[in-house]
Symmetry: C2
Subunit: 357 residues, 2 copies
């Protein structure tokens, strides 16, 4: 009766399972499992036979299945707003190095500043990762947090969420203040700012730091609304070059805008730093290649990411130790764009507190 019932669809599958190894080695799958995970005690003869067969068959364990029984995937989900530019490149590098060190893989996803994309990314991470690293400067982290599956530990990166979530953050405010003070200390009196996207938490903090510390009166014309892009920096440069009276310093909310601004100022015939000094934020690798090299706030993003991973791994290990990680204090790096005298890496003048205070 059941003669021509096809034995499921695996007719032409070349998938090799633990069962194949067991059959070929003439042992039970339990024994194969033991050997492969070197557990318990297994007779040396069995052990050798299994190993031999496994190699001959090119058997590689199915990590998906293994995760299911172990209830652990050894993967960490990383949800970023974007992947553009060196900031994220560095972030990823740091996260990867630290994750690998702890035996974890990285599952990367981008949300492009859309809450729904972030939520969908989170959902699709359930059951494929043991924990989540979440960077969401473009929207309220708290609202995202509510949608986290209950069994998915998460660490927020640089989002000014309430006390509820675990957060590893950069002290944007203090960094901005430090930069503006440096500019003022070197004699600049009319300091302008190129801000980041309005909805971005980091950008908001940097703007706040600028506002609270700039010399002179509030002047709306001195704040150009940017979006972290090079093009915004160029536009800002043109704007400020034409302004009368002209600012004598510009603090850009990130390095990429500073770079764009620098280029357009030069095109407009403005001398940097003689006429206008420029300061950035992040210290991406690009910064020291500009001419003049860019004074900026160094955040060591890779290190920042490493911290976050370590924090997450601790959380996942059930180390119910919700001790807050202190915000990371950016460090001022003085280069020629503010009137410093040196340009190459070896002579960067670095000041401020180190990462671990």
């Amino acid at each position: 009766l059941l003669l021509n019932v096809p034995l499921r669809r695996r007719a032409v599958s070349n998938r090799i399972t633990i069962r194949d190894v067991a059959r070929e080695a003439d042992v039970s799958i339990a024994s194969v499992s033991r050997v492969l995970n070197n557990l318990d005690s297994v007779a040396e003869s069995t052990r050798e036979r299994v190993l031999e067969v496994a190699e001959r068959l090119r058997y590689v364990a199915h990590e998906g299945a293994r995760s299911l029984t172990r209830q652990q995937t050894f993967a960490i989900g990383l949800i970023l707003p974007d992947l553009h530019g060196e900031f994220f490149s560095e972030l990823l590098r740091g996260a990867d190095s630290s994750a690998r060190a702890a035996g974890y893989h990285l599952l990367v996803s981008t949300a492009h500043g859309q809450v729904d994309e972030a939520l969908s990314a989170i959902r699709s991470m359930r059951g494929r990762v043991d924990g989540l690293l979440l960077m969401s400067p473009d929207f309220d982290a708290a609202s995202v947090e509510r949608h986290l599956p209950a069994d998915l530990p998460a660490v927020f990166l640089n989002s000014h969420t309430g006390d509820a979530a675990t957060v590893v953050a950069i002290d944007d405010y203090a960094g901005a203040v430090a930069m503006v003070r440096h500019l003022a200390a070197s004699g600049r009196r009319r300091i302008a700012h190129i801000s980041g996207p309005a909805a971005n938490g980091d950008a908001a903090e940097r703007l706040r730091g600028y506002r609270d510390s700039r010399p002179g009166d509030d002047d709306p014309l001195l704040v150009y609304p940017g979006d972290f892009s090079e093009e915004a920096g160029r536009a800002a440069g043109r704007h400020f070059a034409a302004l009368d009276p002209r600012p004598d310093a510009i603090f850009a909310a990130n390095d990429l805008m500073a770079a764009g601004c620098l280029q357009s100022l030069v095109e407009c015939g403005v001398r940097v730093p003689q006429d206008i000094a420029i300061g950035g934020f992040d210290d991406v690798p690009l910064a020291r290649f500009l001419s003049p090299p860019l004074t900026t706030m160094r955040t060591d993003v890779a290190h920042f990411a490493r911290l976050a991973v370590e924090r997450l791994v601790a959380d996942m290990s059930g180390a119910a130790d919700p001790a807050k990680v202190d915000p990371i204090m950016p460090v001022l790096v003085v280069r020629h764009s503010c009137g410093g005298h040196h340009s190459n890496q070896a002579t960067d003048r670095v000041s401020g507190s180190p990462h671990h205070a």
Copy 2:
């Protein structure tokens, strides 16, 4: 007798499964599954009830389990030699955009130029991804290929493996030739080269292109052995600045070395491009920010990665269409470092065949 046997360990687990939803909604798990995947036809009333309960319980499907039954993970593994610098950043960005578009996630891993790390990465991908994107310029791709699990389609990136594997490659040789010819055409006669790591396939091809097309006789002093790092570029710059007779052009095997070289030449008092012209390879974003902006071969890495993902997705869909993808021909971008006259993006002079010939 079995009264006090603890019902497995899940005593305090807050994991919510499809079964919880089914019980709460008073239907079978099959129905829940149907609703959640909107399959078949389900009574509207059932449907609503399930949806309501799922939301109330904050149920999120376990993707791991789902992958196991579906025999499909909707993830792509990406194994890279490293994560340093804009080249990989761009690669990742392109891969991500294209993978997301096809409904896939990216599982990232690095091999650091070690064969064993690459092999271990491959093993740990089995059963968590549907296909592999593999970049292994530092060692023989064929040897890696032999260790691929049989059920894991793979696409090699830029590795000059035999015809066996699917490869998406950049035409390094042709690119190098084009650059050297450009240098020669603008009157340079003594053209030097900074090569990449000896074991690196791309580097080897670029060197070969240089050798086959440079004017004048072979001169070992004109080839400085680099390793793709900025520091190597600086060292090369010092070397060539001191050489007598000095070269009048330098072709660096990648942009980062070109950047380092440029800086050290300037420090040595050599004028670029008047005394020495410089050409790079890759056209990373950094290139146009240098001063003078760098003439280079643009490969559009992001696009390259997109192609590779599309190829892989096609392979995975069983489109047994092993039509080779033509090597991507880099495009010459002329900027001021070779004597061009313009510096900003809008006026880059681009020539050569476009990516799709």
